[in-house]
Subunit: 704 residues, 2 copies
Amino acid sequence: MTRSLSCFLLVLSAQLTLWTDLAQASSGDEYEAALVDAVDRQRLARWHESYSEEVHVAGDEGDARLIDTLRLDFETLGLEVEVHRFHAYLPRPVSAKLEIVAEPEELGGGPFSVGASPLPLALPIREKAVEGDRFVSDERTSFGWNAYAASGDVTADVVYANYGLKEDFAELKKLGVDVKGKIVLARYGGNFRGYKAKFAEAAGAVGLVIFTDPADAGFRRGDVWPRGGYANETYIQRGSVLTLDYPGDPLTPFVDATEDAERLDPEEVDLPRIPVQPIGWGAAWEIVRRMTGDGAPNAWQGGLPTYYRLGGKGLRLRLQVEQERRLVETANVVGMLRGTEQSDQWVLIGSHHDAWSFGAGDPNAGSILVTEAAKAFAEAAQRGRKPKRSILFAHWGAEEYGIIGSTEWVEGRRQQLEASAVAYLNLDGAALGTRFGSQASPTLKTMMEEISRVVEHPDGDSIWDHWNRDGEAPFGDLGGGSDHVAFYCHAGVPSAGIAGRGTPGVAYHSNYGNLDWYWKMVGDDYRAAEMLAHYVVRWAARLADYELLPLDPSRYGEDVVMHLDAMWRNRPADEAKERTENLRSAAEGFSAAAREDLEALARAVEEGRLDAAEMRRANEILLGMERLWLTDAGIPDRPWYRNLFAATDADSGYAPWMLPALRWTLENDRLDRWKEMEARYLQVFHLLQQEMSTLAALADRGAS
Amino acid sequence: MTRSLSCFLLVLSAQLTLWTDLAQASSGDEYEAALVDAVDRQRLARWHESYSEEVHVAGDEGDARLIDTLRLDFETLGLEVEVHRFHAYLPRPVSAKLEIVAEPEELGGGPFSVGASPLPLALPIREKAVEGDRFVSDERTSFGWNAYAASGDVTADVVYANYGLKEDFAELKKLGVDVKGKIVLARYGGNFRGYKAKFAEAAGAVGLVIFTDPADAGFRRGDVWPRGGYANETYIQRGSVLTLDYPGDPLTPFVDATEDAERLDPEEVDLPRIPVQPIGWGAAWEIVRRMTGDGAPNAWQGGLPTYYRLGGKGLRLRLQVEQERRLVETANVVGMLRGTEQSDQWVLIGSHHDAWSFGAGDPNAGSILVTEAAKAFAEAAQRGRKPKRSILFAHWGAEEYGIIGSTEWVEGRRQQLEASAVAYLNLDGAALGTRFGSQASPTLKTMMEEISRVVEHPDGDSIWDHWNRDGEAPFGDLGGGSDHVAFYCHAGVPSAGIAGRGTPGVAYHSNYGNLDWYWKMVGDDYRAAEMLAHYVVRWAARLADYELLPLDPSRYGEDVVMHLDAMWRNRPADEAKERTENLRSAAEGFSAAAREDLEALARAVEEGRLDAAEMRRANEILLGMERLWLTDAGIPDRPWYRNLFAATDADSGYAPWMLPALRWTLENDRLDRWKEMEARYLQVFHLLQQEMSTLAALADRGAS
């Protein structure tokens, strides 16, 4: 780390002064200052109330009304608005029931285990009403459900599978526990819930019940709602269990889900085949306390007051789930502020608008930043100050079902985006606290650290001072699970996400995720939202208005080395060295050279040695370098994922696979294909190097 | 480690062949084999039933009857029996009550929190009767109590202090939580319970309630009694809260507590001044779930189904404790098998006989090994084969109150023990499973590893194969808490403890610690006891019968280096080096030389080059070297602790302080006295070296 850190700070400082000078030269500072001043906390609160006043699930009437509201908001700001309608294959919940139909004769002892209950015992699958929450009992809220679960009615014994990770099912197998014909009980956490269902189904389970464990999000973490913000016994995490080799509409991979698009036959699509039901820990308790089989491993013990066991031994559950899957129309709302010089170059900011309930946190804590940023730029535009490049503000639809809206939009404009998209910033549910965090693709990191040094934190100092105590910004890697995926992994658009966290509580995907929860737990002063909005406008202003695009391709070198190290950690050191040394030296060599070339280019720009055409050419080259990571064949087994730099984790969903073609060889014991994959990465660096030389040549022009 | 490990194995192999050869030469093998054959599992079971049939708390009628039984058993075996009576200042429980007298208006939510109860609510302080346990409801079982707690009746708010460690109270202070005038609620674990009381009292608390947390010993660990062996909601850990600068009778430090001994005035003795009450987690739940103050740190969250808080906020407890402290007569029972040649040299084996209830686990799982070992040696003796040195088999009294019986016995015979005691083996509650563990002072380790390689494990292979997977025996260091303390820390007799663990459950110090629990959880086949008995007879036979004492003083070198490293870990490396290099090189130099001298000596013995007088001289020197660690002044602040090599931890009780005079300077920020203390250790190595030279001279006699 130290090595890459030091290089990193070197290039950082170089670029910092560099771009700052350029910005001053181009009045960028005044522009940013005006945008920052325009951000208004009262208005953030108003957007929030407006977007969170009713339940708005993709395709329902609340969703339709919100789409109109968002369109109207953008139109009022004078943006060029596109309401991009699409038709996606979405389920809706019809009914669900979870019952205990038989229990062991002798139940465990202890003061928490009440005796046998009259059977069948129906378990709660909806949040309870609580004092101080005016939203939860709204008639349009749904019971707990997992979108795309199969319809079915099964009665079976139960097997506890911890978090339902790949390794958890492997452990069950090792312990000789047969999942075949059983209903799996798994707790939320550790992976995308869809993989719990996928692995359960693969193991032969006939159903899956997913619960939120008190140790992970309930009383073991802090006070529960409404006293505090953590999961009370009826908190239920909804969410999709879709796991395909591509995000977006299940029936239209690669193409926009227009009304007349060619569609797959749902029968051909690998949708879940078992019923799945999410529950709270109150309901889970009724199950867990009745299990009398062998004890579960220590690490599998959760926060409920009993010994967690692997099997029920006489305990039988009935799980009945009915969902209707059909084509539904919903829409993305995209507002454009056209740039004055390179209007064909797009800077994109987005968050989805659909929710599982009121969506005060997910997504509206991010949606309000999109609209507020648009408002800030619109105000400046009305006073005649517009950015050089175009900025697109997007509210995506149907993200919760499978990142559908943004994916369809990208699939319909892939060439255009590859040609001219500068970067995408994702804000899904961002303003949930003041503890700043960020994921970013390499070329954006230098600029984003720079911004973190000038944005004020509500507790004083800069975001940087709070974010980063050890001199290196802890950027995460972009994984799956939100609207950046199509931009980043399919179209090769450098992407980033920012968020504020640190609020003691969890209302994620539940009917408690409403304004009452947000105001009590996150606060009603909107300081977190204000901080992030300041960051967003600066981010967009720099990418859209700096004369030289603030992209730092030299970062690819350090990051590739970092990811190679991570990939081979816990493997034989000598083999790691041998396998990675070619690519490592290519990456290191590229970074070193690229930093010099970029500084030369910056000086050339500073000294005005580049004419307009050359400047445009330089920016085109910088953009083009991002796309060199794209491969038309896609990565092994997942052709939709076209970015050789990053993909989502094929076994967990949320996590990323960095350098996925190489990672694939390790995860699938196909080291026989390592060389072949490595060659593709060496080729990328070869091409990156060529582009850099062209930039260097431009920079040299007329150099003294 | 690698270094000391390699040296270690070197000397080990040398000594192994050495002593084994000597043993063969002296028919040691046949003797050991006969002793091993004599061990009988049916008889172990019979001793166990006999010693565990009734409650026997030090000084009560059950205790008196057991003392008679033990005497009779030894007499029947033909041993010379001493019933060493002493008069100790012991409390007895008169009454106790713990009530919730006031609770906050609004209690926490969740399905586990029943509503408000009629107050005052009396909390259970006695184990409940359960099916399959014929002992727990015996009329002579006591309610839960902590010996030496002050009598008192206090009503106050409650403060949760985690484990009540020194650092826990420091954390409370840091968090601004005032303990003054409060009743502290602390969970068992992490230190000797007496220190929980000591720290609570020092912080100004008016009372202490100690509970067993389900996360530490209850349902989070496994099935609870009677379904499994772990703590059910009424399991209560009894035990003394005595913490003085010396073990033994509080009124007679340094001298035997004979009837007419000079005694301190109890008022002058630093006995607890606050009432203390132990409870089970069922009672603790009633308190914890009613606490509504600020949340406790994450690491303080336990296994009860609520958010653990620091304060009660409106919750008030009443704690009433009455104990009567008075002089009580009880006794040690010591049986001697006199040696044929050096009968003045003693090999000692012991376990205490007093218990908090039936004592099937603690202590009788150890007591039966003492008697069975005596039986094996007695049988051989009847067939005419007696050991060269004397073996003393001891059942100590009143250990539970403060290691009293063994301490009084040692204090009354200190000169004699210093002159001629070879070693002490402690067996307190040893046979609780088949997972072997051991603590030993350095000079015994080589021999004890050798024994572990020849004693069979019930699961096949040797103890060594199961004990030790990485080539180095994981010997622990002898700390406090049992009958080796006076031998080791006061009289400088090399000591060891062995035990079998690994049973999934805890009945420690509760009324559930009876034969029903032992037979169900540990088993009624007595294979663990048999394995340990085999070890014990070999241990005693080698020390009592090998011509050359199997003590390996060269081990002091490696262990001192190890302890210096441990002491300075997490401190500045350069300072550590500078502070420790003198002593380190003295220790390493000594070990290297000592190993050569010992091997030369062994050869001389093997070749019969030493006459009887010289052999006796060699053994006297080996014994004498152990006492070179003794200091008449004692270690800083604790004059009773006379062994510079080891003492008990002054802040936790159970743990050891190795090289305590040096450790003291670190624990008390008195590095200004490091040099002075270091000098004492350098002097020890100087004297050890001198003795070694004398041994070497003996070895050289007539060497070819």
